[in-house]
Structure formats: structure tokens, C-alpha cells
């Protein structure tokens, strides 16, 4: 009872947030809507028994990345989105997007894996322990991990170089 209730609430919140992201004309509002989506997803991760990922989702995404967005918006004091000549490709693009949405949703719903249960009798109800995750991350995926750290370093340098005042 409770999981279904939670799922429905969170899913509704997430979708509402996504729609709001599109609807809002104030970038900050879009950002807030996205934060809402992320938090809802974090709760869903908890439901799916991945608490670590959920926490990381909030800390990194909602707590750092989105804060960065908000910060930039404040810094540039970006006003209301201006209406310019309407791109002719926006409508077909949107239709295509909807098509993609429906398509993927349809196939996923029909897919075999979709039948599996997220929780309940025949589902692995135990939640993933952070220890197992780190074991896997630092044994099997060590090289990707290191590569990612290098990537982060490069990104930091790049951001610094880009945003620096030329003097």
C-alpha cells in the first residue's frame, strides 16, 4: 500500500516538475522545478532500494549542480525568457519528442523485464549496501573511476580558464 502510494506521489511530482520546467518562463522557476524532479527521483531510488544513489543524487545533483545553475542565473541576472522568432522546427521537434516518448514508453511497458517486480514477493527486497557498491566501484570499475576523476580535473581547469577574466 505505502510503496504504491509513495510511487504515485513521487511520479506525479516528477512529471509535474518536468512540465513546470517547460512551462516556466523564469529560469529560476525552471531550476526549482528541476530540483523538485530530482528530489522526487531520489525518493523513488529509495523505493528501489538504492539509498546511496538516492543520497548522491540529492547531494550532487540537487545540492551542487542545481545550486550552480541557480548561482549562474543569479550572477547573470537572467530575466524572463524573451520571445524571438518562433523556430519552425520547434513544433515538429516537439512532436518528434512526444513520438519518442510514446514509443519508448510503449515498448518498455511491453518489454519482458517490465514484468519483473520492483518489490514484493519475488523481488530482491533487500536494499543495496553502500559497502557492496563501493566494492564493485573500486574493484571492477576502478579504471573508469580513475578516468572520471581525471575528467573532473580537466573540467575544473576548463571551467576556470573559461570563466576567468582576461587580464
Amino acid at each position: 500500500m505505502i510503496p504504491i502510494f509513495m510511487f504515485i506521489v513521487c511520479a506525479a511530482l516528477a512529471v509535474a516538475g518536468a512540465v513546470a520546467l517547460i512551462w516556466a518562463r523564469e529560469p529560476i522557476h525552471s531550476a526549482l522545478a528541476l530540483v523538485l524532479v530530482m528530489i522526487a527521483l531520489a525518493v523513488l531510488y529509495l523505493l528501489l532500494g538504492a539509498p546511496f544513489i538516492s543520497a548522491v543524487q540529492i547531494i550532487v545533483y540537487a545540492g551542487a549542480v542545481m545550486v550552480l545553475f541557480v548561482f549562474v542565473i543569479m550572477l547573470l541576472n537572467a530575466g524572463v525568457e524573451e520571445r524571438t522568432n518562433f523556430s519552425k522546427l520547434a513544433i515538429p521537434g516537439a512532436l518528434l519528442g512526444l513520438g519518442l516518448l510514446v514509443e519508448i514508453a510503449y515498448w518498455l511497458a511491453r518489454s519482458a523485464v517490465g514484468k519483473a517486480l520492483a518489490n514484493g514477493a519475488n523481488a530482491p527486497s533487500t536494499e543495496v549496501s553502500t559497502r557492496d557498491l563501493s566494492e564493485m566501484l573500486f574493484r571492477q570499475y576502478l579504471f573508469p573511476f580513475e578516468a572520471t576523476s581525471i575528467l573532473i580535473l580537466i573540467a575544473v581547469l576548463g571551467a576556470f580558464v573559461l570563466a576567468r577574466k582576461d587580464s
Binding site: I28, L32, P51, I58, I59, A62, G63, V67, M74, E127
Partner: protein, 409 residues
Amino acid sequence: MEFISQHPVLVAAVVKIAVLLFIVMTALAYLTWLERKAIAHIQSRWGPYNVGAHGLLQPLADGIKFLFKEDVTPPAADKLAYILAPFLALSLGLSAIALIPFGPPSRVFPNGQQMFSVVDLNIGLLLLFAITSMGVYGVALAGWSSNSKYPLLGGLRSSAQMISYEVSLTISVVGVVLLAGTLNFNELIGAQSGYFHLMRVIPRWFIFPQIVGFLCYLTSAIAETNRVPFDLPEAETELVAGFHTEYSAFKFAMFFMAEYANMITVSCLATVLFLGGWLSPFPDTGIWHYQNYLPGAGLLALAVYCAWNTVSEMRGIARLQLGVVTLLAGGGGLICLYPPIAAAIQGPFWFTTKILAILFFYIWMRATLPRFRYDQLMSFGWKFVLPVSLANLVITALMILVWPHVRHG
């Protein structure tokens, strides 16, 4: 009804949350009183004195004042964000506390619910950081939505500051996590039980192996909660009142409470991670069993002091009020002397004591230190605290690699 009977967990959680909320709110209120008095005495003033004996009713008065003031919303403000910001700030500040265990998990209700913690999560620490990391939004949104320059500047400053120090805050505690090998608060505290080998008097609190981490944590925590000497966001002399300049009445009060709630949260975290949480510094062997009576004794002592003070100095209504305090303290003290209760409240007692110590440190700082300049703040955060905490982390990891037995628990 049958829903309640089906979900005892839910019910117990709700009840505990309610109680905790009440306690924390009161604590917030009287923390402001404590701060004002302490600073006043440090600066050899009286501080609040007239509203109630020793200004004991001052917080109440403030609360009422905030409630009844006019709530101004600037016309140019962005309504949604303007209203959202304070709620966000306060709710996050309070909800973080819900993760803290105030007493040993062994203390349980008949229905098997832990007595002193709302939830006992495996990733408690992570979740706490998740919540605190969201705290930036309150400040940032407030600053932006007021649509006026001082708040914007304050908001920018404080969000930058909080992002910066959040990094070192997080990294400074990883050393502890490495030593304890868990993210669960109770296990973290359990890992600190016992004593170091040399003459068995120093408790195995993480503050001793992780002193560097502790200092880094304390610094970052002060910056994270925008307290002196890092209170740039509401630097009165520069930005009027920083991000909440445009706020008034209860919204302002909410920011105010949020700040103190954050203080309490970080103090709790410091206690849990470095000061052994609800563990007593003394062993409970032999004669040390009498430490169970410390809370009661303390309260009785307070009662005695209040009584003497009442008789000697108070006049009129104030004497009545202080008398009430005396009676409360005395009664509480007597109850606490009842052995089972005395044993039960050991954890909360020590926990509260440690928190109070840290909070007093906060206040002390505020009373003594001047404010940093902004660039100093930033360079200090990025060029000193962060590298030091990183070095601490690396060294800790290496030590664990070399001598695995340094790990606790």
C-alpha cells in the same frame, strides 16, 4: 484506527517527530536567550533582564512580536521564490535534526521502537549531508527573489560561501567514516566506545585521532551556518542585513530560527562524529556508576541557586517567575534521581551537554572575533581548509592501510 494498528512504525515516527519538534523549537528560542545573555556577560553587560526574571520570557515576547508584525512583500519580488525561501530554509534546518540519535538504540519502547532517534538509517550521515546541502536554496532564493541589490549581493555571497565550505565540510568527516567504516550514526557512536590504551582514561572519541578533521569541520561548519566570523551574508555594516533584508515579521523569524536550527544540527553532527555522541566520558564500572546521578544533581544545584537568587534579589513578579523555575528544576532533579530514569537519560544528558559546549563555543566566537573580508573568506576556504582536510583524509587512509588496527569498531 486499523490503519494505525497496521503501521506502528508510522505512528511512532509521527509522535516522535512531534515531540522532537517541540523540544527543538523551545531550544531554538532559548538558544537566542542564552546567546544574548552570554555575549552580554562576556562584554560585561546585563543583556535581556526585564522581560521575565533574567529576561527568561524574552524569546516568548520576540516570538509574539514577530507573529503580529505586518508581513511586507516587496511588489517587485518574485512571489513564489520569495515565499518559498524561508519555508525551505527552516524546514530543511529542522528536518536534519530528525536523523540524529540522542540516545543509545538499546533504549526501546515496548513496541520495539528506538526511544531517542526518529529514524535509524544505514546512510544517516549521507542523508544529513543531502539535507544540509539543500540549505543553500533558502539563502540563494531569498536573495534573488527580493529583487533588490543588497539581498542579491548577500545571496550571491552566501551561496558561494556555502558551496565552497560544503566541500571541505564533507571531506573533513570522511576521515571519521573511514575509521568507523559505517555511515550509520549509532554505529559511528558505537565505534567510539571504550578507551585508548595509555592508562585507559582518554575515551576513544574520534576527536583525538581526527583532531585536524575536527578543526576543519568546526571551521567549515561555522562558515556553513553563516556565523561570525564568517557571517558575510548578513554583514550588517556592508549589506544592511544581507539576503533577508527585505524580509519582515514571521518570514524573517523563520530565517532566524533556521540559522539556529542549523547551528544545532552541526553541533549534533560534531558531537556524533567527534565527541562520542551520547557516550559518557567516564567508564560505568564500580564507583563510576554514580555518574548516573549527575543530571539530577545538576538540576538540584540549579534549583538551589535559583532559590537563593529568588530570595536574595528578585522582587515582585520576577520573584514568582524565578520561583516557578526553581520548582521545575527541583522537581526535575528529584525525578532524575530515580535510578531507572537516571539510567535512561544518561545518553540524552551527555549528548545535550556536549551540544551545549559546542554551542557555547559558537557564541563565544561571536562575542570575540571580528568578521573576515570576503576574499579572505574565499581564499581561506579554498586555499587552506580544503587542502588541509584533504591531506587529513589522505593521511588517515594511509594509516589505515599501514596499521589496519587503527580502525575502530
